[in-house]
């Protein structure tokens, strides 16, 4: 099956990104269209491995070799069906997943991996374009009612699966939009919000009830859910941001990244905010603290706003450009990643510890930092050491803290329900995704801690399987292996 020598005949050629000068002018997605022949050739590169590491590397267990081959053969509709058997929202993961599948692609041992993620996106987009992705409500209803709290990717995945199994699902979302971080956290240039809306419309048409601007635990006691629903699934995410805890962090101009990103997303959707609340980088010097994806999102957003200069500082040392021998395939490569935002500019710097902020009149003016070096202890633990004499200051207008999240919000819903927490402050779940409260399940970052969208979907699917089993005694919904690869 497939093209046996495809991986030799074709090179990796991902779709082209729009020119930087053009894309900085708007918040549109950065990728242009991808011709069908190009997708086919890229699909032909897949080797149809008997041990598809990609399929294991993908938390969802996407049937990657299957749909790569189908695309190569031009059987798009079946490719879409295969894609949907493991992934409720390929249009999301096809855009914003860091693609652990590609990291574990067998071709990546000595070649560029297959463009799995782009092919995924191409298939799911084609499904919408051709009108193949249509509402498909369940033929039977079980009469069981399930409440899903939180409409991020794990909540949506759980809701979608539970609805397929014939349960009556209500999704509660405290924000005014469905989608959680997908909608409010991720910039439009990575994920156009139309993409989310059309999926939510589909789910609504399939019978899922969405209650927005409803904050469970605030608008009504969380325990009410236990009376009104046969089961509850908590998918509220990991929402408490990590802060630096240094002097001057309270100064005006130091922002948590998520406040910045959500504001811009709201603005893009036509909301107006007070000029005084507006975080605008136009013409300013910006420092993004944190070298991860959220940091990159701040970078891209700030560029679009017209920042003068942007620094991105990372505490850890600069990762190697290629896999070191100590970090071999198929493990997740700890290498320097250059996202689309980095392509657009900014100055990245590593091994920098922020010591404090200072300013006047409550307004940020200077970031004080020092360079560090990392030393490995005998136990393998890494220790950081400041390098004397490398202290430096940066004159800065805005600082975004993209340092990750600690755990879900405890006050309100979680406290009212009285679910047990784990030592890190996440909601504890048993092997069946059930919390300490019978009938109450949890999935996604709320229980796993901050993670990838693809993990969130996987979690939601597994929770749905467990809930279905809980409600019906057995479940036809697929179970997902939530054990990390390697």
């Amino acid at each position: 099956m497939g093209k046996i020598t495809g991986f030799v005949d074709f090179n990796r050629e991902p779709p082209e990104r729009r020119p930087v000068s053009q894309r900085l002018q708007d918040y549109q997605e950065i990728y242009g269209p991808w011709p069908e022949e190009a997708v086919r050739d890229q699909g032909a590169r897949c080797m149809n491995c008997a041990l598809p590491f990609c399929h294991r590397g993908c938390p969802l267990g996407n049937l990657i070799p299957d749909w790569n081959d189908l695309v190569y053969k031009g059987r798009w509709k079946e490719a879409l069906a295969a894609l949907h058997t493991t992934n409720n929202f390929p249009e999301f993961t096809g855009r914003i997943c860091p693609a652990p599948c590609e990291a574990s692609c067998v071709l990546a041992i000595n070649e560029q991996p297959v463009t799995i993620e782009y092919i995924e996106k191409a298939i799911s987009d084609k499904g919408y374009d051709e009108g193949w992705t249509t509402p498909n409500p369940p033929s039977k209803r079980t009469g069981k009612k399930v409440a899903v709290i939180g409409s991020g990717p794990s909540g949506l995945a759980a809701a979608d699966q539970l609805n397929r199994a014939g349960h009556t699902v209500t999704v509660f979302e405290r924000n005014e939009y469905i989608g959680g971080l997908l909608t409010l956290g991720i910039p439009d240039f990575k994920l156009d919000k139309q993409v989310i809306e059309r999926r939510v419309d589909l789910m609504r048409a399939e019978g899922i009830d969405f209650q927005t601007s409803t904050n469970v635990g605030e608008d009504f006691p969380a325990t009410d859910l236990l009376d009104s629903y046969d089961s509850v699934c908590l998918t509220g995410g990991s929402t408490i941001p990590r802060r630096l805890g240094v002097e001057g962090e309270e100064l005006d101009g130091v922002h948590v990244a998520m406040d910045y990103l959500t504001q811009q997303n709201r603005v893009n959707r036509g909301q107006t905010s007070l000029a005084s609340d507006r975080i605008d980088a136009a013409g300013k010097t910006v420092v993004v603290l944190g070298g991860g994806d959220t940091g990159a999102d701040c970078l891209g957003t700030a560029h679009r706003q017209g920042a003068e200069v942007i620094y991105q500082y990372e505490l850890l040392s600069e990762p190697p450009k290629e896999r070191p021998t100590t970090n071999p395939w198929p493990y997740w490569p700890l290498i320097l990643r250059t996202s689309s935002a980095h392509e657009e500019g900014g100055i990245r710097d590593y091994s920098i510890l922020t010591k404090s902020f200072s300013g006047s009149n409550g307004k940020l003016e200077t970031l004080h930092a020092v360079r560090i070096e990392w030393e490995r202890e005998e136990s393998g633990r890494m220790n950081m050491k400041e390098i004397p004499g490398t202290e430096f200051d940066v004159q800065v207008d805005l600082v975004f803290l993209a340092l990750g999240f600690l755990h879900p919000q405890h006050e309100g819903m979680l406290e009212q329900l009285g679910v047990d927490l784990d030592p890190r402050g996440n909601v504890r779940a048993d092997d069946n995704k059930m919390t300490s409260v019978p009938g109450v399940f949890t999935a996604g970052d709320m229980t796993r801690g901050q993670s990838l969208v693809v993990w969130a979907i996987a979690e939601g699917r597994e929770a749905a399987h467990c809930i279905d089993k809980y409600l019906m005694g057995s479940s036809n919904l697929p179970s997902v292996n939530l054990r990390m690869f390697a």
Partner: protein, 1515 residues
């Protein structure tokens, strides 16, 4: 002491899987004149065939030998016999040669029984005679179990009119006695045995060496003892269990070979007993049953069948023609009357199929027949003083060459009859014409046989089901997406079964947590050592898939009604064809359809109840005259689920066998379940005559509708391709057991079950071996209900629209578990590459715990305590332990040079062993590298292809491994596709680059255990320093084969598991053949120890061994050494793409693509790191169990126990591993692991003299010539000398013509094997099989004795299978050769004057000139080299298999020059009159030569020419 099992099952040992092979001989006076000389010469034959027999632990105890002769009437009348009573006239009395129990009570009881039975059957009991024997002439083991040997005399009773009636009565008497002894209360009932009871013949036999027969039985030395014939037999059993009665000859036949279908033949005989009737026997008939008693050898069973048929009044040759018919396929040319004869008799009985040479008698006449494949040699001479000498070898009786009238051999499928009343020998054609014309068989067939293809349309045309209905059915029958994608799609597209690579690593069906098709519990059995598998592709002419439906008639009659059956071209029925069958309405053929569904709204146990009801329905249908029963599972719906088709089929089949009604009816299975070849094979093997896989057809329709195929493939084509692929696959399955026809495979149940409970087997799959217990019918029902539930879920649950992924072939996270999965591969690679013990431990943890959860038998075991742990520092160091490790046999060609050498370097660095695989080896690797690394593979494999097996290759090894079978495809050959044969590979393999290479399924020099002994002897001669290995694959009976290997002086026996890797193999073979090594190893250990054959052999095992725990269990089950192949490759970067067969390995391992090979990133050190981890892991286990050395640990199965997990889970609850862990109770003196070496007897070799007399030549290359007499006991002459030359002079050898040896006499087997360059052999006389095997550059000339009066070119002068695997040299033979001349020749030049069937088979290089006739199937599988055949009769074209070759005239100047030059040489060396005739009339003769030109070879040669031309014109 030894042979403690005494023929009873013990542990995993089953006596019915004993095998025997042998030397067979016949001496007779062609005019029927009796003399004592005939007896003497018979014994001389026996003694000269001694090397074909064997001895066990006691060198003085043979496996058995004996002689069958005419009634020595005059002897019994002489004083010497000492009878105390009067004898009636000849033929009015009979003698019963009898073994009696040694204990007096038992003996008396048996004697009384004999006397009483004779009397009660109305005959006269005359008296007993003690047979005088000399126990001091035999070995202690034989003596210890020697029965009392007496003869009883029976006088013809009143009312018995003729001789045949007397004979019949004696048959009845013997059967009554045998049955009575079977039920009598005797201490040692097995000691009682009647060797013969006849007025015409006598048998003297016993647990003797050939040379002991005469000394033991004093009668035989008495000159008064005379006979006109002697049939003799010397046995080589794979095992010695101290049994006198297993010695041959049987009552009427001597047999060399193996009846592969004996289980089925026996079943069918039971099945037809109720339909027998005979006016001659009358009520006595009932006393004969069972015609074939249980637990006998194949030969004994054949003897029983022969005996019964003989008593039907048919002449002896008629009987044998119906038991062992010739091949009658369309490609075989034969007269219509003979074809009709066979067709008619096939309505009565299925063939007894297998390699066989049978000599048989009725007391007056002697016949001999060879199986259709001619896999046994039978040579004969007739002298001018009326003597016939026939034997497995030529030269067995000293004969004056001037007295020989002719030297001949029996041809495949042909018969030979010596009828003194007709004045001597009657040839095959005459006999068969007479018999074929005896009845109007053709007329009867025409009037009665119904042919399916002639029947009128009866509807049933294909209509595609609604999609959702189709998916429901697919779910209900357990389909997965892989069934569509990986099985049906390629079958329908290409007409071939899908190919895969690497081994099987999914759990056994009984250990899987997924529902399993019942088929997966059945493992196909296969031929190894004691019988050869067939090549169903290249030797297609002997195969046939046609089947018959309908009732069989009384075997005692021949009537037109016997032919009233429905004949099908093959066992698969399309829907249209099934409709025709169902619509049949003719007298004598009546179809009835019965449902095999069960209701799901029922309590558990419904399948069992439904089966009972079905049995009753079948009985009722039979009572109402049905002769075809269609078992149908049409109509599956929400309420009805199907009974698994195999359960229904086998259950009904055995129900009918038990009731004696099976032959009254044909069984057709109409089922949605079967979809792949193994399903079809199992259904047929368990009784289905025909199968309609309707859902597979519907699924093909779905694939067509989905535009999966190119437009050229519509439904009809897809269906046709699918059926074609299925038949190919089916023939492959039968061929791997050596069975040629589906007709005899039918009901032969050539399977071992793994994981089925005895209760289930006894009830539905009777007589199937199932040795570790397992599931009962409740689990089968669970699975059936689970699948049905997927298709028709309960009310509130929406159905899943998708089929499950499967994951049986390719890993999927929701599919079947694989031991090699991304996690284990990643962990192991990290461990090996980073030398990271933590990662190794994580890997081992995953491998071990998952095994324990799901995958393997060893996973079900745990270690018991008992011994005190020792400190790890006291345990043997890892550096010593790794010397017991080896990598697998992976050929250069299947993997890249880089990968191959990396493995070798790693193993040489740590003193372990790497294995060349079967692809030869670049001799530059024999020299160490500058840095001291050695790239030589210390184990050199000798496989059926013999690629690159030169003398130099053989001497550069510490181990020579004979690959009898491979776990991934036991019983099959292999193919290396042309695209993997690059210049380098072609050079190493002595073949043409770009030309596909075929390894035959069998070794063409191993058709039996004595042949294996011969090859072991050959290899040991070439390289006496090397250990000779025999690689076997686990299956039931492998223990007895291993014992045979030890007796054949193998130094090492490797028991491979079914999970081993492969570069390319049909998926169905990877998944459905062979057994886990745990079972095979444990059985081998049990049998070897019990027979005291263990100490002299090293036992190795392999098959997915990965961790220290695996190694520990292997050792404790009996291995001295282990092989680790797949894991070794994984350390070198293999990521189990399973694309080895496509040449596209992306990590540069299993590919020859230069670009991909550059990606190879393996390193010898990575493999060493891993082996060290395994050894250290093992040391920890050893320490915890208190073993300081590996030797102490070997065979300690008593320290293993069944893990608790076994009883926890419903599916595994019935598993009982106690038989596997049983340890034979033997004295401490009996070794349980390897302690000593084999005695190969090399000091007796004639080569010692050759070497002695060639000292000058060897030392200083001084030309030397000398002469020596030779006889057939001088085997493998020339090999040791050649080995010596290769060791000294390497690839180069000696200069041409350095050593010239002139022999006179009959050369033994393997004459001039591996003959090295510089050595010339000139033989005046004749030679046996395996002539010039592996010849590597020498020259052989064979001419008849000067005194011979016969015409040389009309007489047989050399044996079968000449020049097998020769890589160079020249051969000139004045006379005829046998079957398979030049098989796998890859470089020798040969001229000969006529040859038998299958000439030049699989040839890849060299030249063969035949100045005369060739047999059938010439050039099958020939991909290189050229042959020139002088076709004066003009029929060569019809005898040549033109699948791969073109035939053309010799017109090219180079060709003419070459041909003429070879014939001139032939004339020069042999003085051939034939050569002279041809050369004298060259211009007239040249046009009569046909050039046989392999197309592949032509393509390459043409390309070469074009390239040269381009170069010439551009340059």
């Amino acid at each position: 002491m030894v042979g403690v099992f005494k023929g009873k099952p013990f542990g995993l040992y089953r006596p019915e899987y004993e095998h025997a092979a042998c030397g067979v001989g016949v001496v007779a006076n062609t005019k029927g004149v009796s003399s004592h000389d005939i007896v003497e010469r018979g014994i001389e034959v026996l003694v000269n065939l001694a090397h074909r027999g064997a001895a066990g632990a006691d060198p003085e105890t043979g496996d058995g030998a004996g002689i069958l002769m005419q009634m020595p009437d005059s002897f019994f009348r002489s004083d010497a016999a000492g009878l105390g009573f009067d004898l009636p006239a000849l033929h009015e009395y009979a003698v019963g040669m009898t073994f009696l129990p040694r204990d007096d009570a038992g003996r008396t009881q048996c004697e009384n029984l004999v006397e009483a039975t004779v009397a009660s059957e109305g005959q006269r009991f005359l008296g007993w005679r003690d047979v005088p024997v000399d126990p001091s002439a035999i070995g202690y083991v034989a003596r210890d179990c020697q029965p009392t040997i007496r003869q009883f005399f029976v006088g013809k009773g009143e009312g018995i009119t003729d001789e045949s009636a007397f004979d019949r009565k004696l048959y009845v008497i013997r059967k009554i006695i045998e049955n009575a002894v079977g039920t009598a209360d005797l201490k040692e009932p097995d000691e009682f045995y009647i060797c013969s009871l006849s007025p015409k013949v006598m048998v003297y036999k016993g647990l003797l060496m050939a040379y002991q027969v005469k000394d033991f039985y004093k009668d035989l030395a008495n000159p008064a003892l005379t006979s006109s014939f002697a049939l003799v037999h010397s046995r080589f059993s794979t095992n010695t269990l101290g049994s006198w009665k297993l010695a041959h000859p049987y009552r009427y036949i001597v047999h060399n070979g193996e009846i592969n279908t004996v289980r089925g033949n026996t079943n069918w005989m039971i099945a037809r007993e109720k339909s027998m009737s005979s006016p001659e026997f009358g009520d006595d008939l009932q006393k004969l049953f069972p015609v074939i008693p249980p637990s006998q050898s194949d030969t004994a069973s054949l003897d029983n069948a022969y005996e019964l048929m003989l008593h039907t009044g048919r002449p002896l040759h008629h009987v044998m023609m119906s038991l062992m018919p010739e091949a009658t396929g369309e490609r075989v040319q034969m007269s219509q009357e003979k074809r009709d004869f066979y067709e008619y008799h096939a309505c009565m009985m299925e063939p007894w199929d297998g390699p066989a040479l049978v000599a048989f008698t009725d007391g007056t006449r002697i016949g001999a027949v060879l199986d259709r494949n001619g896999l046994r040699p039978f040579r004969y001479i007739v002298t001018d003083d009326d003597m016939l000498v026939m034997a497995s070898e030529t030269g067995v009786v000293e004969t004056d060459p001037s007295k020989v009238l002719y030297r001949q051999r029996i041809y495949p499928g042909r018969m030979f009859l010596l009828d003194p009343e007709r004045g001597g020998i009657v040839d095959d054609e005459t006999i068969k014409h007479e018999l074929s014309a005896a009845q109007p068989y053709g007329e009867w067939l025409k009037q009665n046989m119904v042919y399916l293809r002639d029947l009128a349309d009866a509807g049933g045309h294909h209509e595609q089901m609604d999609r959702s209905e189709l998916v429901d059915l697919q779910q209900a029958f357990g389909y997965t997406q892989e069934d569509l994608r990986l099985l049906l799609e390629p079958m329908a597209l290409n007409g071939v079964e899908p190919t895969g690579s690497m081994g099987n690593d999914v759990p056994l069906a009984v250990l899987s947590d997924k529902p399993q098709p019942l088929f997966r519990y059945f493992k196909q059995m296969f031929a190894q050592v004691s019988n050869p598998p067939l090549d169903g592709i290249r030797e297609e002419l002997v195969t046939s898939v046609d089947v018959r439906l309908g009732a069989q008639q009384n075997i005692f009659d021949e009537t037109p009604q016997h032919a009233r059956q429905l004949k099908l071209d093959g066992p698969l029925l399309t829907d249209e064809e099934l409709a025709k069958v169902k619509a049949l309405d003719v007298d004598g053929i009546k179809p009835v359809t019965l449902s095999t569904l069960f209701r799901v709204d029922t309590d558990e146990g419904e399948i069992e109840r439904a089966m009972e009801a079905l049995c009753a329905d079948v009985d009722e249908a039979l009572a109402n005259g049905a002769s075809i029963i269609v078992l149908s599972d049409r109509g599956v719906d929400a309420l009805h689920a199907p009974i698994p088709s195999l359960l229904a089929t086998a259950g009904i089949h055995h129900h009918l066998v038990r009731n004696g009604t099976r032959t009254k009816v044909g069984l057709v299975v109409e089922s949605g379940e079967p979809r792949e070849t193994p399903h079809l094979a199992a259904l047929i093997g368990y009784g289905a005559n025909a199968v309609n896989p309707y859902l597979a057809f519907q699924t093909l329709g779905q694939l067509v509708d989905d535009d999966i195929f190119p437009a050229s493939i519509d439904f009809k084509t897809a269906q046709k391709n699918y059926i074609k692929a299925s038949y190919k696959g089916l023939v492959k399955v039968t061929a791997k057991m050596g069975i040629s026809t589906v007709h005899s495979y039918h009901g032969a149940q050539i399977f071992e079950a793994v994981g089925l409970s005895q209760r289930l087997v006894d009830k539905y799959f009777t007589w199937t071996p199932s040795r570790i217990g397992g599931i009962d019918i409740d689990v089968i029902e669970d699975d059936a209900r689970k699948w049905h539930g997927d298709a028709f879920p309960e009310a509130d649950v929406p159905a899943n629209p998708d089929l499950p992924s499967g994951g049986f072939y390719q890993w999927r996270s929701d599919g079947e578990y694989h031991m090699w999965n991304p996690d284990t591969v990643a962990k192991l690679q990290y461990a090996a590459q980073m030398n990271d013990v933590t990662s190794y431990r994580a890997f081992a943890e995953l491998a071990n715990t998952y095994e324990q959860r799901a995958a393997t038998i060893r996973g079900l075991l745990s270690f018991t305590g008992g011994n005190d742990p020792v400190d790890i520092t006291e345990v043997e160091p890892a550096s010593e332990i790794v010397k017991r490790f080896a990598t697998g046999a992976i050929s250069l060609g299947s993997i890249s040079r880089e990968a191959h050498e990396s493995l070798a370097i790693a193993m040489n660095r740590i003193g372990a062993r790497s294995n060349s695989g079967e692809g030869g080896e670049d001799y530059h690797r024999y020299v160490p590298d500058a840095n001291g690394d050695r790239r030589v593979s210390t184990i050199k494999q000798v496989a059926s292809g013999r690629f690159g097996v030169t003398t130099n290759y053989l001497v550069n090894a510490t181990d020579l491994q004979i690959k009898m079978a491979q776990g991934a495809k036991p019983g099959e050959g292999g193919q290396l596709p042309g695209h993997k044969v690059d210049k380098y590979i072609g050079w190493v393999r002595h073949s043409t680059p770009g030309v596909e290479l075929i390894s035959p399924p069998p070794h063409h020099d191993i058709y039996s255990i004595e042949d294996l002994a011969q090859l072991i002897h050959d290899l040991k001669n070439v390289n006496s320093d090397a250990r000779i290995h025999v690689k076997l694959v686990a299956e039931v009976g492998v223990g007895t084969i291993a014992a045979g290997v030890s007796k054949a002086h193998g130094d090492v026996v490797l028991i491979s598991g079914d999970t081993g890797g492969t570069g390319a193999s049909p998926e169905s073979s990877i998944k459905y053949a062979g057994l886990p090594w745990e079972l095979g190893l444990a059985e081998a250990q049990q049998v070897l120890v019990a027979n005291d054959l263990r100490g002299r052999i090293v036992v190795q095992t392999d098959g997915q061994i990965k961790t220290g725990r695996d190694v520990a269990i292997a050792l404790m089950l009996g291995a001295d050494e282990v092989g680790i192949a797949t894991a070794s490759l994984v350390t070198q970067g293999c990521i189990m793409l399973r694309k080895c067969h496509l040449n596209t390995c992306s990590v540069g391992i299993a590919t020859q693509d230069p670009e991909l090979r550059q990606r190879f990133a393996g390193d010898p050190q990575h493999l060493i790191n891993y082996f060290m981890f395994v050894a250290e892991d093992l040391r920890e286990i050893m320490a915890s169990l208190g073993f300081r050395t590996v030797a102490e640990m070997i065979g300690r199965a008593d320290k293993l126990t069944t893990a608790e997990a076994v009883s926890h889970w419903k599916k595994t609850r019935g598993i009982d591993l106690t038989p596997m862990l049983a340890v034979a109770d033997v004295p401490d003196t009996v070794a349980r692991h390897n302690v000593t070496t084999q005695d190969h007897g090399l000091e007796k070799a004639l080569d010692q003299q050759l070497i002695q007399r060639s000292q000058q030549a060897l030392a200083r290359k001084i030309p030397t010539e000398f002469s020596l007499p030779i006889n057939n006991s001088n085997r493998t002459v020339g090999a040791m000398l050649s080995g010596r030359i290769a060791k000294q002079y390497g690839e180069e050898g000696l200069p041409f013509d350095t050593i010239q040896v002139n022999f006179n006499g009959s050369a033994g087997q393997s004459f001039a094997a591996f003959l090295a360059k510089g050595v010339n052999f000139h033989l005046e006389g004749d030679s046996n099989d395996y002539f010039g095997k592996g010849m590597s550059g020498g020259r052989i000339v064979v001419v008849p004795p000067k005194e011979a009066k016969y015409v040389p070119e009309e007489n047989v002068i050399i044996g079968n299978v000449a020049l097998y695997g020769a890589t160079g040299g020249e051969v000139f033979i004045r006379g005829l050769g046998g079957e398979r001349f030049g098989v796998r020749n890859s470089g020798a030049l040969a001229v000969i004057e006529g040859i038998g069937d299958h000439g030049c088979e699989y040839m890849t290089n060299g030249r063969v000139v035949v100045l005369g006739d060739v047999g059938r199937n010439f050039a099958a599988g020939m991909s290189g080299g050229l042959a020139y055949v002088l076709d004066e009769a003009g029929h060569f074209e019809s005898l040549c298999n033109q699948e791969m070759v073109d035939l053309e005239s010799v017109v090219n100047a180079d060709d003419i020059h070459e041909l003429r030059g070879l014939i001139q040489k032939h004339l020069k060396y042999t003085g051939s009159a034939n050569a002279k005739r041809v050369l004298d009339d060259w211009d007239q003769m040249l046009p009569k030569f046909v050039k046989v030109y392999p197309r592949d070879y032509r393509r390459v040669v043409d390309a070469q020419k074009r390239a040269n031309q381009e170069f010439a014109t551009s340059g």
